[in-house]
Protein backbone atom coordinates (compact mmCIF):
# COMPACT_ATOMS: atom_id res chain seq x y z
CA UNK A 1 0.00 0.00 0.00
CA UNK A 2 1.48 3.32 -1.12
CA UNK A 3 0.03 6.56 0.20
CA UNK A 4 -0.02 9.55 -2.15
CA UNK A 5 0.84 12.97 -0.63
CA UNK A 6 -2.80 14.00 -0.47
CA UNK A 7 -3.81 10.85 1.39
CA UNK A 8 -0.91 11.23 3.77
CA UNK A 9 -1.76 14.87 4.56
CA UNK A 10 -5.45 14.19 4.91
CA UNK A 11 -4.88 11.25 7.26
CA UNK A 12 -2.31 13.18 9.31
CA UNK A 13 -4.78 16.03 9.75
CA UNK A 14 -7.49 13.56 10.67
CA UNK A 15 -5.20 12.03 13.30
CA UNK A 16 -4.14 15.47 14.47
CA UNK A 17 -7.69 16.50 15.32
CA UNK A 18 -8.33 13.28 17.19
CA UNK A 19 -5.06 13.34 19.10
CA UNK A 20 -5.47 17.00 20.03
CA UNK A 21 -8.77 16.24 21.69
CA UNK A 22 -7.26 13.23 23.46
CA UNK A 23 -4.36 15.37 24.69
CA UNK A 24 -6.78 18.02 25.95
CA UNK A 25 -8.77 15.46 27.91
CA UNK A 26 -5.59 14.09 29.49
CA UNK A 27 -4.41 17.61 30.26
CA UNK A 28 -7.72 18.48 31.96
CA UNK A 29 -7.58 15.31 34.00
CA UNK A 30 -4.01 16.00 35.17
CA UNK A 31 -4.53 19.76 35.40
CA UNK A 32 -1.21 20.36 33.65
CA UNK A 33 -0.06 21.05 30.08
CA UNK A 34 0.53 18.09 27.74
CA UNK A 35 2.69 18.31 24.63
CA UNK A 36 1.90 16.32 21.52
CA UNK A 37 3.85 15.46 18.38
CA UNK A 38 2.46 15.95 14.88
CA UNK A 39 0.86 12.62 14.00
CA UNK A 40 2.77 10.30 11.76
CA UNK A 41 0.91 8.19 9.24
CA UNK A 42 2.69 5.20 7.83
CA UNK A 43 1.76 2.22 5.76
CA UNK A 44 4.07 -0.50 7.05
CA UNK A 45 4.64 -4.09 6.10
CA UNK A 46 3.67 -6.41 8.95
CA UNK A 47 7.15 -7.98 8.86
CA UNK A 48 8.60 -4.57 9.84
CA UNK A 49 6.33 -4.04 12.84
CA UNK A 50 9.20 -4.69 15.25
CA UNK A 51 11.04 -1.69 13.78
CA UNK A 52 8.18 0.63 14.71
CA UNK A 53 6.84 -0.79 17.97
CA UNK A 54 9.24 -1.17 20.88
CA UNK A 55 9.63 -4.14 23.15
CA UNK A 56 9.36 -2.10 26.33
CA UNK A 57 6.98 -3.30 29.04
CA UNK A 58 3.93 -1.08 28.61
CA UNK A 59 0.26 -0.86 29.42
CA UNK A 60 -1.59 -1.33 26.14
CA UNK A 61 -5.28 -0.38 26.19
CA UNK A 62 -7.13 -1.49 23.07
CA UNK A 63 -10.53 -0.46 21.72
CA UNK A 64 -12.27 -1.76 18.65
CA UNK A 65 -13.82 0.97 16.50
CA UNK A 66 -17.58 0.50 16.27
CA UNK A 67 -20.55 2.59 15.19
CA UNK A 68 -21.29 3.44 11.58
CA UNK A 69 -18.17 1.60 10.54
CA UNK A 70 -18.60 -2.12 11.04
CA UNK A 71 -15.62 -3.62 12.92
CA UNK A 72 -13.47 -0.78 11.68
CA UNK A 73 -10.16 -1.68 13.27
CA UNK A 74 -8.54 -0.63 16.51
CA UNK A 75 -7.38 2.37 18.50
CA UNK A 76 -4.69 1.87 21.09
CA UNK A 77 -3.23 3.85 23.97
CA UNK A 78 0.24 2.72 24.97
CA UNK A 79 1.95 3.95 28.14
CA UNK A 80 5.16 2.77 29.79
CA UNK A 81 4.82 1.18 33.22
CA UNK A 82 6.24 4.24 35.00
CA UNK A 83 3.61 6.52 33.50
CA UNK A 84 0.78 4.24 34.60
CA UNK A 85 2.10 4.10 38.16
CA UNK A 86 2.50 7.87 38.20
CA UNK A 87 -1.05 8.42 36.95
CA UNK A 88 -2.52 5.99 39.50
CA UNK A 89 -0.66 7.78 42.29
CA UNK A 90 -1.94 11.10 41.03
CA UNK A 91 -5.54 9.89 40.96
CA UNK A 92 -5.45 8.13 44.33
CA UNK A 93 -3.16 10.54 46.13
CA UNK A 94 -0.57 7.82 46.82
CA UNK A 95 3.18 8.35 46.41
CA UNK A 96 4.89 4.95 46.09
CA UNK A 97 6.59 4.90 42.68
CA UNK A 98 8.94 1.95 43.12
CA UNK A 99 6.49 -0.93 42.84
CA UNK A 100 4.99 -3.50 40.49
CA UNK A 101 1.78 -2.90 38.51
CA UNK A 102 -1.27 -3.79 40.63
CA UNK A 103 -5.01 -3.97 40.10
CA UNK A 104 -5.51 -0.28 40.76
CA UNK A 105 -2.98 0.50 38.02
CA UNK A 106 -4.88 -1.71 35.61
CA UNK A 107 -8.13 0.11 36.37
CA UNK A 108 -6.41 3.47 36.07
CA UNK A 109 -4.83 2.56 32.72
CA UNK A 110 -8.21 1.48 31.36
CA UNK A 111 -9.94 4.60 32.62
CA UNK A 112 -7.32 6.92 31.14
CA UNK A 113 -7.50 5.02 27.86
CA UNK A 114 -11.28 5.33 27.90
CA UNK A 115 -11.24 9.08 28.39
CA UNK A 116 -8.57 9.70 25.76
CA UNK A 117 -9.98 7.40 23.11
CA UNK A 118 -13.55 8.61 23.56
CA UNK A 119 -12.27 12.12 22.86
CA UNK A 120 -10.21 10.88 19.90
CA UNK A 121 -13.09 9.06 18.23
CA UNK A 122 -15.65 11.78 19.00
CA UNK A 123 -13.54 14.42 17.33
CA UNK A 124 -12.57 12.40 14.27
CA UNK A 125 -16.10 11.10 13.74
CA UNK A 126 -17.51 14.62 13.97
CA UNK A 127 -15.08 15.75 11.29
CA UNK A 128 -16.35 13.01 9.01
CA UNK A 129 -19.99 13.41 10.02
CA UNK A 130 -20.36 9.81 11.14
CA UNK A 131 -20.63 7.94 14.43
CA UNK A 132 -17.58 6.09 15.74
CA UNK A 133 -17.68 4.52 19.19
CA UNK A 134 -15.06 2.63 21.16
CA UNK A 135 -15.79 -0.96 22.23
CA UNK A 136 -15.21 -1.83 25.89
CA UNK A 137 -11.43 -1.77 26.42
CA UNK A 138 -9.05 -4.71 26.59
CA UNK A 139 -5.79 -4.43 28.51
CA UNK A 140 -2.36 -6.00 28.28
CA UNK A 141 0.63 -5.13 30.45
CA UNK A 142 3.47 -6.67 28.53
CA UNK A 143 6.03 -6.16 25.75
CA UNK A 144 4.36 -3.61 23.46
CA UNK A 145 5.23 -5.57 20.32
CA UNK A 146 3.70 -8.75 21.72
CA UNK A 147 0.41 -6.96 22.37
CA UNK A 148 0.36 -5.31 18.94
CA UNK A 149 0.77 -8.70 17.24
CA UNK A 150 -2.70 -9.72 18.36
CA UNK A 151 -4.19 -6.54 16.90
CA UNK A 152 -2.30 -6.93 13.63
CA UNK A 153 -3.59 -10.51 13.40
CA UNK A 154 -7.11 -9.07 13.41
CA UNK A 155 -6.67 -6.30 10.85
CA UNK A 156 -4.14 -7.90 8.49
CA UNK A 157 -5.34 -11.45 7.96
CA UNK A 158 -5.78 -10.87 4.21
CA UNK A 159 -3.28 -8.06 3.59
CA UNK A 160 0.42 -7.68 4.33
CA UNK A 161 0.55 -4.00 5.16
CA UNK A 162 -1.24 -1.92 7.74
CA UNK A 163 -1.86 1.77 8.17
CA UNK A 164 -0.58 3.11 11.49
CA UNK A 165 -1.30 6.54 12.92
CA UNK A 166 0.91 7.43 15.81
CA UNK A 167 0.98 10.51 18.04
CA UNK A 168 3.06 10.84 21.15
CA UNK A 169 1.92 12.75 24.19
CA UNK A 170 4.50 13.98 26.66
CA UNK A 171 4.84 16.17 29.68
CA UNK A 172 7.96 17.01 31.68
CA UNK A 173 6.10 17.85 34.86
CA UNK A 174 4.34 15.56 35.57
CA UNK A 175 6.63 12.96 33.93
CA UNK A 176 4.08 11.41 31.59
CA UNK A 177 4.62 9.73 28.25
CA UNK A 178 2.18 7.92 26.03
CA UNK A 179 1.30 7.05 22.47
CA UNK A 180 -1.99 6.88 20.61
CA UNK A 181 -2.19 4.48 17.69
CA UNK A 182 -4.96 3.84 15.24
CA UNK A 183 -4.99 0.75 13.06
CA UNK A 184 -7.94 0.86 10.66
CA UNK A 185 -8.78 -2.34 8.80
CA UNK A 186 -8.88 -2.40 5.01
CA UNK A 187 -12.55 -1.47 4.74
CA UNK A 188 -12.26 1.50 7.10
CA UNK A 189 -9.06 2.67 5.38
CA UNK A 190 -10.91 2.88 2.06
CA UNK A 191 -13.86 4.56 3.73
CA UNK A 192 -11.54 7.13 5.33
CA UNK A 193 -9.94 7.98 1.99
CA UNK A 194 -13.37 8.50 0.37
CA UNK A 195 -14.73 10.62 3.19
CA UNK A 196 -11.60 12.77 3.42
CA UNK A 197 -11.69 13.38 -0.34
CA UNK A 198 -15.30 14.46 -0.15
CA UNK A 199 -14.42 16.76 2.70
CA UNK A 200 -11.95 18.81 0.64
CA UNK A 201 -13.92 18.72 -2.62
CA UNK A 202 -15.76 22.03 -2.20
CA UNK A 203 -12.37 23.72 -1.92
CA UNK A 204 -10.95 22.40 -5.14
Amino acid sequence: MELDPFQKDALAEFGNIGAAHAATSLSEMLMSPIEMTVPEVRAIDIADLHKHISNEISAIVVFQIQGEVADGGYVVVSMPKETVIYLTNKMLGTTDIDREINEMDQSAAIEIGNIMISAFLDATAELLGIVMLPSPPALAIDMAHAAFESIIAQVASDVNDVLIFNTELTSEVPPVYGGIYMLPNTALTQQLFCMLEQLVEPLS
Binding site: I46, A138, H145, E149, S150, I151, A156, S157
Partner: protein, 163 residues
Protein backbone atom coordinates in the same frame (compact mmCIF):
# COMPACT_ATOMS: atom_id res chain seq x y z
CA UNK B 1 23.06 -17.98 33.28
CA UNK B 2 25.82 -17.70 30.74
CA UNK B 3 26.47 -14.58 28.77
CA UNK B 4 24.27 -14.89 25.71
CA UNK B 5 24.30 -11.30 24.50
CA UNK B 6 26.92 -11.92 21.85
CA UNK B 7 24.81 -14.48 20.10
CA UNK B 8 21.72 -12.33 20.12
CA UNK B 9 23.40 -9.55 18.23
CA UNK B 10 24.22 -11.84 15.36
CA UNK B 11 20.85 -13.57 15.28
CA UNK B 12 18.62 -12.81 12.31
CA UNK B 13 15.41 -11.33 13.69
CA UNK B 14 12.29 -12.42 11.85
CA UNK B 15 9.26 -10.11 11.72
CA UNK B 16 5.61 -11.08 11.63
CA UNK B 17 4.89 -13.63 8.94
CA UNK B 18 8.52 -14.19 7.96
CA UNK B 19 10.34 -17.51 7.76
CA UNK B 20 13.93 -18.51 7.25
CA UNK B 21 16.03 -21.66 7.04
CA UNK B 22 19.75 -21.60 7.77
CA UNK B 23 22.70 -22.51 9.99
CA UNK B 24 22.87 -19.05 11.55
CA UNK B 25 21.20 -18.06 14.84
CA UNK B 26 17.56 -17.06 14.37
CA UNK B 27 15.21 -15.13 16.62
CA UNK B 28 11.97 -13.24 17.06
CA UNK B 29 11.38 -10.36 19.44
CA UNK B 30 8.15 -9.68 21.29
CA UNK B 31 6.11 -12.77 20.55
CA UNK B 32 2.51 -12.44 21.73
CA UNK B 33 -0.31 -14.46 20.24
CA UNK B 34 2.02 -15.46 17.40
CA UNK B 35 4.00 -18.69 17.34
CA UNK B 36 7.69 -19.19 16.77
CA UNK B 37 7.89 -22.58 15.11
CA UNK B 38 11.43 -23.93 14.98
CA UNK B 39 12.26 -27.04 12.97
CA UNK B 40 15.68 -28.47 13.74
CA UNK B 41 17.87 -31.02 12.00
CA UNK B 42 20.57 -31.99 14.48
CA UNK B 43 22.63 -33.97 12.00
CA UNK B 44 23.07 -30.99 9.68
CA UNK B 45 23.07 -28.26 12.38
CA UNK B 46 20.27 -26.73 10.35
CA UNK B 47 17.19 -24.93 11.56
CA UNK B 48 14.17 -23.14 10.18
CA UNK B 49 12.09 -20.59 12.03
CA UNK B 50 8.67 -19.19 11.14
CA UNK B 51 6.92 -16.32 12.92
CA UNK B 52 3.35 -17.54 12.49
CA UNK B 53 0.46 -15.08 12.92
CA UNK B 54 -2.73 -17.01 12.14
CA UNK B 55 -3.81 -20.67 12.03
CA UNK B 56 -5.19 -20.96 8.48
CA UNK B 57 -4.15 -19.48 5.16
CA UNK B 58 -7.52 -20.06 3.47
CA UNK B 59 -5.88 -20.01 0.07
CA UNK B 60 -3.50 -17.07 0.55
CA UNK B 61 -0.05 -18.08 -0.66
CA UNK B 62 1.90 -14.80 -0.98
CA UNK B 63 3.30 -14.88 2.58
CA UNK B 64 3.80 -18.50 3.65
CA UNK B 65 5.32 -17.67 7.04
CA UNK B 66 2.18 -15.88 8.17
CA UNK B 67 -0.06 -18.94 8.49
CA UNK B 68 0.49 -22.23 10.33
CA UNK B 69 -0.44 -24.51 7.42
CA UNK B 70 1.65 -22.78 4.75
CA UNK B 71 4.59 -22.12 7.12
CA UNK B 72 5.14 -25.77 8.03
CA UNK B 73 5.09 -26.85 4.38
CA UNK B 74 7.44 -24.05 3.30
CA UNK B 75 9.92 -24.78 6.12
CA UNK B 76 9.97 -28.51 5.35
CA UNK B 77 10.39 -27.86 1.61
CA UNK B 78 13.35 -25.56 2.19
CA UNK B 79 15.01 -27.91 4.66
CA UNK B 80 14.68 -30.80 2.24
CA UNK B 81 16.54 -28.67 -0.33
CA UNK B 82 19.38 -28.43 2.22
CA UNK B 83 19.43 -32.23 2.43
CA UNK B 84 17.28 -32.86 5.50
CA UNK B 85 14.85 -35.75 5.67
CA UNK B 86 11.58 -35.46 7.54
CA UNK B 87 12.58 -38.23 9.95
CA UNK B 88 15.60 -36.27 11.19
CA UNK B 89 13.63 -33.11 11.90
CA UNK B 90 12.24 -32.21 15.34
CA UNK B 91 10.16 -29.22 16.31
CA UNK B 92 10.13 -26.56 19.03
CA UNK B 93 7.01 -24.48 19.54
CA UNK B 94 6.98 -21.22 21.53
CA UNK B 95 4.36 -18.50 21.86
CA UNK B 96 0.59 -18.45 21.47
CA UNK B 97 -0.09 -16.35 24.54
CA UNK B 98 -3.42 -14.71 25.33
CA UNK B 99 -2.32 -11.13 25.83
CA UNK B 100 -5.49 -9.28 26.72
CA UNK B 101 -7.63 -9.17 29.81
CA UNK B 102 -11.26 -8.07 29.71
CA UNK B 103 -11.30 -8.97 26.05
CA UNK B 104 -13.65 -10.82 23.78
CA UNK B 105 -12.00 -13.89 22.26
CA UNK B 106 -11.16 -12.19 18.97
CA UNK B 107 -7.92 -10.70 20.29
CA UNK B 108 -6.84 -13.91 21.99
CA UNK B 109 -5.96 -15.96 18.98
CA UNK B 110 -2.89 -17.51 20.60
CA UNK B 111 -4.57 -20.72 21.71
CA UNK B 112 -5.91 -21.40 18.23
CA UNK B 113 -2.48 -20.75 16.75
CA UNK B 114 -0.81 -23.19 19.13
CA UNK B 115 -3.44 -25.87 18.54
CA UNK B 116 -3.17 -25.52 14.76
CA UNK B 117 0.63 -25.77 14.77
CA UNK B 118 0.67 -28.86 17.02
CA UNK B 119 -2.04 -30.54 14.98
CA UNK B 120 -0.18 -29.94 11.72
CA UNK B 121 3.12 -31.20 13.19
CA UNK B 122 1.40 -34.40 14.28
CA UNK B 123 -0.03 -34.90 10.79
CA UNK B 124 3.45 -34.46 9.32
CA UNK B 125 4.81 -36.98 11.84
CA UNK B 126 7.26 -34.49 13.37
CA UNK B 127 7.84 -34.87 17.10
CA UNK B 128 7.82 -31.85 19.39
CA UNK B 129 11.04 -31.69 21.36
CA UNK B 130 10.11 -28.63 23.40
CA UNK B 131 6.95 -26.63 23.81
CA UNK B 132 6.15 -23.44 25.70
CA UNK B 133 2.77 -22.13 24.63
CA UNK B 134 -0.19 -20.33 26.15
CA UNK B 135 -0.14 -18.24 29.28
CA UNK B 136 -0.45 -14.49 29.35
CA UNK B 137 3.11 -13.43 28.83
CA UNK B 138 5.02 -12.04 25.84
CA UNK B 139 8.24 -13.86 24.89
CA UNK B 140 11.37 -13.32 22.83
CA UNK B 141 13.01 -16.36 21.26
CA UNK B 142 16.59 -17.03 20.12
CA UNK B 143 17.75 -20.26 18.55
CA UNK B 144 21.20 -21.59 17.67
CA UNK B 145 20.99 -24.48 15.22
CA UNK B 146 24.45 -25.91 15.92
CA UNK B 147 24.55 -29.53 17.09
CA UNK B 148 21.77 -30.32 19.52
CA UNK B 149 20.52 -26.77 19.18
CA UNK B 150 20.10 -24.20 21.90
CA UNK B 151 16.94 -22.26 22.65
CA UNK B 152 16.66 -19.16 24.83
CA UNK B 153 13.24 -17.86 25.81
CA UNK B 154 13.04 -14.43 27.46
CA UNK B 155 9.72 -13.54 29.01
CA UNK B 156 8.08 -10.18 29.64
CA UNK B 157 8.16 -10.80 33.40
CA UNK B 158 11.95 -10.73 33.19
CA UNK B 159 12.63 -14.48 33.47
CA UNK B 160 14.88 -16.14 30.94
CA UNK B 161 15.44 -19.86 30.31
CA UNK B 162 17.97 -21.77 28.21
CA UNK B 163 17.16 -25.21 26.84
Amino acid sequence: MENNFFGEETAIILGLGELRVGKCPLGTIGLGSCIALILHDQRRSLAGLAHIMLPESRGIVNRPGKFADTAICALLDEMVVFGSTKSSITALVVGGASMFEFSANSLNIGERNAAAVKDLLQKQGISIEHEETGGKVGRSVYYWPEGKGRLIVKRADGTCTTY
